[in-house]
Amino acid sequence: MKHWLTFILVFAIAAGALVFAQRRRPKASVSPEPLLYLVGDTQRELSRLPVAATRLSDEEEISIGKRIMKRTGFVEVSDKSPADVIAVSNYVNDVGRKLAANAHRKLPYSFHYIPERYFANAFALPGGPVYIGAGLMATMDSEDQLAAVLAHEIEHIDRGHAAERAQLEARMRHLGPLRAAVLLPVAIFQAGYSKQQELEADSEGVRIAVQASYSPEGAVRLLEAFARYDRETEPRKAQTPQQELAGVMRGAMQEYFASHPPSAQRAMKIHELMAAEGWSPRAERDLRVAYIFWHGRATELAAMGKYDQARQLEQRALQVKPDYVDALRGLAEAEFASADFTAAAATYGKLLDKVTPNQDSDVHHYAQALAAADRRSAARAFRSRLRGRPTSPLAGAELSGLELLAGNPQPAQQSELAAARDPNTDPQLTATLGRWHYLAGDYERAQQLLATAAQQRPADAEINADSAWAAVELRRYADAITTFGNNSGQNLAARMGLAVARWQSRQPDAALQDFVAAVQSDSRWDNARWVAALYSPTVAKSITEMKAERERRLQDEERQRRLARGALSR
C-alpha cells in the first residue's frame, strides 16, 4: 500500500511537470551544446594548470607575434594609402590605444585596419597585434561598438589565449617557439577560440572598455545585430524526431568546431555582467569614420541601381563630413542618374569648388548636368563657375559645346579649326566636340569629328560607341551594329546602341533581346528623362517603342499561358 501511494505521488509529480511544461511551452533548442559545453569546460579546466606552468614568456610571445604579423599578407597602411584608409586606420589606433591602457599585461599592443570590404572579421596575434577588417567596421554605427570589438581582441592577448593557441598548435605540429613563429599559419588566429575563451574575452573586454569610458551597450547592440543575423540564417526548427536527430548530429559537428558561442548568448552574458556590476546606461559615441563606410555602401547601392538610397547615404556622410569629396562626387552621380539634373549640376559645382585643380571628368559631368537642366543658361553658368581658375583645353571644348547648344556655333567652329591645324591635338577634345554636336542635333558633323577621334584612338571604346550613336542617326545601321557589337564588352551603353540600331533596321526580335539585356545591366535606360538628356530623340523614341513592344509581348505570353492552363483544367 505504501509503495502504491509513493508511486502515485511520484507519477503525479512527473505528470504534473509534464502538463505544466506542455502549457508553458518553454523554448529549448535540441542540440548537444550542454554536453559539449560540459566536456569542453572540463577539458579547459584540466588544461589550465599545464598551460599556466609552461606559458611563453612575454618576450617570446611578442617575438612570435611580430614574425607572424609579417606573414599576414595584408598591406600595412602607410602615408601612400588612400586618405580614407589612413583616416580609419588612425581612428582605430586611437580607440585601440585608449583601451590597451587598461589591459592587465603591458604589451606593445598595435592596431591594424584591413581596408577590404569583404573582410568582416577581427583577430589578435600573440604579443599585441590586433587586426580589424573594413567589412566588420561597416556594420558599426558607434565608437563604443568598435571599442567592444577591439577590447575583445585585446583580451584574447591579455588573457593569453593567443599565446596558448600558438603554444598548442606548435606542440601539435612538433615545432619549437622559433619555428612556430615562422611556420604557424595566420588562419589559426582568425578562426577564433574556444567558447569559454570567447566568453572570457567578451566579459573582460567589456570591463576594459567601460574603464576607458565606453558604454557596454555598444557590445550588446553589436552582438544583438549578429544574433539577428544568426536567426535569419539558422536552420528551421525540427518538426519530427528524425529532423531532431539530424539536427543534433549536425549541431554536434558545428558546435564542436564552432568558435564563437551564439551571439544571443554572448549578449545575454554581457547583460548579466552589466546587472552584476551595476553599470548605468551611458550614451554611445558616434563612429567618427562612419561616413567613409556610408559612402562605400552608397557606391554599392548605386551600382545596383538604387540611386535614391545611395543619395540618402551620401547626404548622411556629407552631413558628418561636408568636405568629403568622394561623397560629393557619389551624390552628384546618383542625382544625375536619377535625372535630377539641377541638383546634380549644383553638387558638381560644389565639387569643382572644393577640388583644385579640377578633374576633366568632373568638368565634363558638370557641363552635361548643366546642359540637361537648361540648355540656354548652361554656358553662362559654366563660364561663371570656372572663371579665374586654371582650366584644361577640354574645359574649353565643353564650354564651346554648351555655346553650341545655346545657339552659338562660333566657339565650337574655332575650336574645331584649331584642333584641325594642330596635329598634336588631344583626340578626346575632338571627341568631346563631336558629342556636343550630337546633342545639338548636327549628326553629320558629330560623326565626322568622332570618326576622326576614333581613327586616332581606335581602342577607345567610348569614342567608338559615340561614333556609332551618330551613325544610327545617319541611318548607317550596319556600321553602327558592327561598331556597337565590337565595343559592347567595354562600353555599357553599346548594348542599348545595338538594340536601337537593330530596332531601327527592322530586326525587332534581336533588338528586344539586346534591349532587355541593356535595361537589366543599367536601370537608367528605364528613365526617359535621363535618356532624353544624353541621347537623340530617335534613341528616346526607339527605347519607348521597344519598351511598349516588350510589354505587349509579355501580355500576349501571359494570355497564352492562361489559355493553356484553362484548356488543361478542362
Binding site: 509503495h3 509513493t6 508511486f7 511520484v10 507519477f11 509529480i13 512527473a14 505528470a15 504534473g16 511537470a17 509534464l18 505544466f20 511544461a21 506542455q22 508553458r24 511551452r25 518553454p26 523554448k27 529549448a28 533548442s29 535540441v30 542540440s31 548537444p32 551544446e33 550542454p34 554536453l35 560540459l38 579546466e45 584540466l46 589550465r48 594548470l49 592587465h104 591579455d158 572570457e200 566579459s203 573582460e204 570591463r207 525540427a238 519530427t240 524526431p241 531532431e244 543534433v248 552584476a276 556590476e277
Partner: protein, 865 residues
C-alpha cells in the same frame, strides 16, 4: 555401332516408306484437284481409283511377305486414303466433280471409310489404320472447299472413335482429336484472318460450330464409354479428354464473333462436363470422373469473368469454390474439396490482383483515399471468414479431410490465404491511418483464437499482422498531421496499436517452432518503442524526457508487479533515454527572468522517478533476474538520480556557486547513507566531494578575471561555504566507517578505492582542508596568510582532538610547521612591521596553545595512538 545401325534400319525400312506414301498420296490428291484441259473430272477420278487400286493391290500382295510387310502396310494405308479422297473428290473437288448428289458422295465416303476400317483391322496394326486415317484427314484438308466438305472429317472421326473403342487404341484417338480440330482450324483461317482483330459474323458460323460440337460430343462419348485396361490407357484417355475440351474451346474462341456467348458456352460445356462426370457410367472409372469433374468445375469458374467484372467475379468465384468445397466435405469426396480449395485460391488471387490492385492504383498517387467498406468488409472479410472456416472449422469436423498430408498442407495454406485476404480487406476498408489499428486488432483476435484452439497458422499470421502494423506505423502514421476532434490521429492510432500489441503479447509465442524466440517480449518492446516514439512526436521537445520517464515508470511498476523482466528492461532503457535527453534538450531551455526555471521543473521529477525505481528495486530485490543483478540496475537507478540532480546544479547554479551546491548534495547523500546504511550513497558522496575539490581548484581558484568578483560571487563566500559543508559532512562520515567491507579485493586501484571508501572521514577531512588552505593563501593579504594558516591549524587541532584522529592532528602540526617555515623563509624578510608583529604574535600563540593542548590531553592522545 549397333544403335547407329538400328536407327538407320528403322529409318530406311519404316519411316522412309511412310513419308514416301504420304507424299505420293498428297501428290495424287493435288493432281485430282488441279484443272486439266486434256483430262476431265471423270478421267481424274478414274486415275484416282486406278492409283488407289494399284497401291492397295500391291500392298495386299507384298504384305504376305515378311520382308516387305512394313512397306506393304504403308502402301495399303496410302491406297485406302487415296480411295477415300477420290470418293470425296467426286463431289467436293471441282476439278473432279462428277457426282451431283452430296448424299450419294457421303454414302460412298462412309462405305469407303467402313471398308478401310474393316480391311486395315485385319492387320491389327494401329500404325496401318492410323496411317490410313491420317492420309484421309490430309486429303480432306488439302481439298476443303465449303463447310460441308468438313463432314468428311466428321465421318472419319466417327470411324476412328469406333475403332478406338473396339480395339482400345486410345493413342489413335488423340491423333484423331488433334487432326479433327486442327483441320477445322485450318479451314477457318482463310475466313477469320482477313477480319483482323474485329470478327464479323460469317455464313458458315453455325455449321462450323455444329461440326465442332459434333467432334466434342463424339470424342466425349468415346471417353465415357471406353474401358481402360491399364493405367497407360487411362493416361491416354485423360489426355484425350483434356485435349477434346481445350481444342474445342480454342477453335470456338478463334471463330467467335459474339463474345457475349462465351459465358453461356463455357457455362453449358462446363455444366455438361460436370454432369457427365457424375454419371454412374463415368464414375466407374475414377480417372474419368476426376477429369470430367475438374474440367466442368474449371469451365464454370472460367465462365464468370466473361459476363461479370470486378468484385462480382470474386463473389461468384468464392461462392462456386465454397459450393464445391462444402459438397466435397458433405459427400466425403476429396476431388470436390480440392477443386473448391483451388477455386478459392484462384478467387483470392483475383481479389488481390484485380480488386485490390485497382484500389491500390487509385490510392497510389493519393488521388482517392476514400475507404471502400463494401469491397473490404463484405467481399474480402467474408471471403477470409469463409476460407478460415474451411481451413479450421470444416476440416476439423470432416471425416475425409486431414487424413492425407496434401490436404493438411492445402488447408494450412488456405488459412494463410485467408489471412492475406483479411489483411488486404482491412486495408481496403480502412485506409490511411486506421489500417494499422484494424491490422493490430485482427492480429490480437487471431492470436487469441490461435492460442485457445492451438492453431499455429493463426499465431504466425498474428505475428505478421503485428509486424505489418508496426512497419506501416513507422512509414505512414508517424507522419500523420490530421486531427479527429482536435486530437491528433497519430496519437489515437499509434496509442491504439501499442495497446493492442501489449494485449497481443499475452497470447502469442510459437513454442512449437521457435522455442527460443521471445515473441511475447518482442511485442512489448515494440509497443513501448512506439509509445516512446509517439511521445517524441507529440510532446514539446522539453517534455519528451518527462514523457519517457513516465512511460518507464509505468512499465517498471507493471514489470515488477507482474514479474515480467522484459517490461522492466524497457523501463531501464526509457530511464536512460530520458536521462540522456536532458543533456541535449532540457539543459538548453531558455531562462525567463523572474520565472521558475524550466530546467528545474522538467528535470527534478526525473530524479524522483530514478530514486523511486531504486527504492522499489531494493524492496523487491528477489524478483530481479540474474542479468539485472549482474548489470547492477539497482545501483544504476540510484546513480541516475544523483547524477541528474548534480547535473541540474551544474547548469542551473551560478558558475561560482556550483561547488557549494555540490557540497550540499554531499552532505545530503552522506546523511541518507548514514540513515539508510546504504553504501551507494557513501560512494556518491565521496565522488561528489572529489568533484567539489576539483571544481574549487580548477574553476574557483583559477584567476578567470583580473577584476575583483562582485558580492555573492566572491571566492571566499563560494568556496568557504563548500568547505564548511564538507567539514559538516564529517559528522556522518565517521559513523559510515562502520559500513566498511572486509572482503578481499584484487588489483591495486581497487584496493586503493576500498581504502578510500572504508575511511570516508579521511577524504572528507583532507579535501576541505586542502581547499581551505589554498583559499586562505589566495584570498588573504600576503601579510596575513601565515596568521590565517596558523589559526586554521589551531582549529584543525581542535577538530582532531574532538575526532580523536591522529591524521588530523598531524595535519594541524604540519600546517603549523609550514607557517614556521614561511615565517623564517619569507615573512621575516618581506612583511611590513605591523603584519610582521601580528604574524609572530598570532603564530606564537597558536603554537603555545597547541602545545598546551598536547600537554593537557596527553593521556587521551596516547590512547588514540
Amino acid at each position: 555401332m549397333r544403335s547407329a545401325l538400328d536407327v538407320e534400319e528403322r529409318l530406311g525400312t519404316n519411316w522412309l516408306n511412310k513419308l514416301g506414301i504420304m507424299i505420293l498420296v498428297l501428290g495424287i490428291a493435288f493432281f485430282l484437284a488441279y484443272q486439266l484441259q486434256t483430262l476431265g473430272p471423270a478421267g481424274k477420278v478414274l486415275v484416282g481409283y486406278v492409283a488407289s487400286a494399284a497401291l492397295l493391290g500391291s500392298g495386299i500382295y507384298f504384305e504376305r511377305s515378311d520382308r516387305y510387310r512394313i512397306l506393304a502396310r504403308a502402301g495399303i494405308g496410302g491406297g485406302w486414303a487415296l480411295l477415300f479422297f477420290t470418293t470425296y473428290a467426286m463431289y467436293h473437288v471441282p476439278a473432279a466433280h462428277i457426282l451431283s448428289s452430296q448424299v450419294i458422295d457421303l454414302l460412298l465416303m462412309l462405305l469407303v471409310a467402313g471398308a478401310m476400317v474393316a480391311h486395315t483391322l485385319r492387320y491389327n496394326s494401329q500404325v496401318v489404320t492410323g496411317l490410313s486415317f491420317l492420309l484421309a484427314f490430309a486429303t480432306v484438308f488439302v481439298s476443303r472447299v465449303s463447310v460441308y466438305s468438313l463432314t468428311a472429317g466428321v465421318v472419319l472421326a466417327l470411324g476412328m472413335v469406333f475403332i478406338a473403342l473396339r480395339r482400345r487404341w486410345f493413342e489413335l484417338e488423340i491423333f484423331g482429336i488433334l487432326a479433327s480440330y486442327i483441320n477445322h482450324w485450318f479451314w477457318l483461317r482463310p475466313i477469320i484472318e482477313p477480319m483482323g482483330s474485329k470478327h464479323r459474323p460469317f455464313p458458315e458460323f453455325v455449321p462450323s460450330a455444329a461440326i465442332l460440337i459434333a467432334y466434342w460430343v463424339l470424342y466425349r462419348i468415346s471417353h465415357v464409354l471406353r474401358r481402360a485396361e491399364n493405367q497407360r490407357q487411362e493416361n491416354f484417355s485423360t489426355i484425350a479428354a483434356l485435349l477434346n475440351t481445350v481444342l474445342l474451346l480454342a477453335v470456338l474462341k478463334y471463330q467467335s464473333v459474339r463474345p457475349e456467348l462465351a459465358f453461356w458456352t463455357l457455362l453449358a460445356i462446363g455444366s455438361i462436363e460436370l454432369l457427365v462426370g457424375q454419371l454412374p457410367i463415368t464414375r466407374r472409372r475414377r480417372a474419368a470422373f476426376v477429369v470430367l469433374t475438374s474440367i466442368g468445375a474449371a469451365l464454370l469458374v472460367a465462365a464468370i469473368p466473361f459476363r461479370y467484372s470486378g468484385a462480382d467475379v470474386s463473389i461468384l468465384w468464392v461462392m462456386e469454390a465454397e459450393a464445391l468445397f462444402l459438397a466435397g466435405a458433405w459427400l466425403g469426396e476429396l476431388v470436390f474439396v480440392r477443386l473448391g480449395t483451388l477455386a478459392g485460391v484462384a478467387a483470392a488471387g483475383h481479389m488481390i490482383a484485380v480488386d485490390a490492385a485497382m484500389v491500390l492504383g487509385r490510392r497510389f498517387d493519393g488521388a482517392d483515399l476514400s475507404p471502400a467498406p463494401r469491397l473490404g468488409l463484405l467481399v474480402f472479410l467474408i471471403a477470409a471468414a469463409v476460407f478460415y472456416a474451411n481451413s479450421h472449422v470444416i476440416t476439423r469436423r470432416s471425416q475425409v479431410l486431414g487424413k492425407h498430408w496434401f490436404d493438411r498442407l492445402l488447408m494450412s495454406r488456405l488459412s494463410h490465404v485467408a489471412g492475406i485476404i483479411a489483411f488486404v480487406g482491412l486495408w481496403i476498408a480502412l485506409p490511411q491511418y486506421w489500417t494499422v489499428v484494424a491490422w493490430s486488432a485482427l492480429g490480437l483476435l487471431l492470436a487469441i483464437i490461435g492460442k485457445r484452439f492451438t492453431i499455429p497458422e493463426l499465431r504466425i499470421q498474428a505475428n505478421l499482422l503485428g509486424a505489418a502494423a508496426v512497419i506501416r506505423v513507422l512509414a505512414i502514421n508517424l507522419g500523420a498531421s490530421a486531427r479527429l476532434r482536435h486530437v491528433s490521429l497519430r496519437l489515437i492510432t499509434i496509442a491504439a496499436v501499442a495497446l493492442l500489441l501489449y494485449a497481443t503479447s499475452r497470447f502469442t509465442g510459437i513454442r512449437e517452432k521457435l522455442i527460443l524466440l521471445r515473441i511475447s517480449d518482442a511485442y512489448t518492446w515494440t509497443a513501448s518503442a512506439l509509445i516512446a516514439l509517439l511521445l517524441w512526436y507529440e510532446l514539446q521537445p522539453i517534455s519528451v524526457a518527462l514523457g519517457w520517464c513516465l512511460l518507464g515508470l509505468v512499465l517498471f511498476e507493471v514489470g515488477l508487479n507482474r514479474r515480467v523482466p522484459a517490461l522492466r528492461w524497457q523501463a531501464y532503457v526509457a530511464f536512460l533515454a530520458a536521462f540522456s535527453r536532458i543533456f541535449v534538450v532540457n539543459f538548453n531551455a531558455e531562462l525567463i527572468p523572474g520565472d521558475l526555471s524550466p530546467r528545474v521543473y522538467t528535470v527534478i521529477p526525473l530524479a524522483f522517478v530514478f530514486f523511486y525505481a531504486y527504492a522499489r528495486l531494493r524492496q523487491d530485490i528477489n524478483v530481479l533476474v540474474p542479468r539485472e543483478r549482474s548489470w547492477h540496475v539497482v545501483d544504476i537507478s540510484c546513480w541516475l538520480g544523483t547524477l541528474t540532480v548534480a547535473a541540474l546544479m551544474r547548469f542551473e547554479l551560478n558558475l561560482d556557486w556550483i561547488v557549494a551546491g555540490w557540497a550540499i548534495l554531499v552532505l545530503a547523500l552522506l546523511a541518507i547513507g548514514w540513515r539508510s546504511g546504504l553504501r551507494v550513497f557513501l560512494h556518491q558522496g565521496l565522488l561528489l566531494a572529489c568533484a567539489v575539490a576539483f571544481r574549487g581548484v580548477f574553476h574557483n581558484f583559477y584567476t578567470r578575471t583580473y577584476f575583483p568578483a562582485a558580492g555573492w560571487n566572491g571566492r571566499m563566500l563560494c568556496v568557504g561555504t563548500a568547505v564548511a559543508l564538507l567539514f559538516a559532512s564529517l559528522a556522518f562520515a565517521f559513523p559510515l566507517r562502520q559500513l566498511k567491507t572486509h572482503t578481499e579485493v584484487q588489483g591495486r586501484f581497487r584496493r586503493l578505492l576500498a581504502v578510500v571508501v572504508n575511511r570516508p572521514d579521511q577524504v572528507l577531512f583532507f579535501l576541505p582542508l586542502l581547499l581551505l588552505t589554498v583559499l586562505l593563501g589566495l584570498e588573504m593579504r600576503s601579510g596575513m596568510i601565515t596568521t590565517a594558516w596558523g589559526l586554521e591549524a589551531v582549529a584543525v587541532f581542535f577538530i582532531a582532538l574532538w575526532a580523536g584522529e591522529r591524521s588530523f592532528r598531524l595535519s594541524a602540526l604540519g600546517l603549523l610547521l609550514l607557517c614556521v617555515g614561511k615565517i623564517v623563509a619569507v615573512d621575516v624578510w618581506g612583511l611590513n612591521p605591523r603584519d610582521r608583529y601580528l604574524t609572530f604574535i598570532v603564530l606564537g600563540s597558536a603554537l603555545l596553545l597547541v602545545s598546551f593542548l598536547y600537554t593537557r590531553h596527553r593521556e587521551t592522545i596516547r590512547r588514540y595512538l
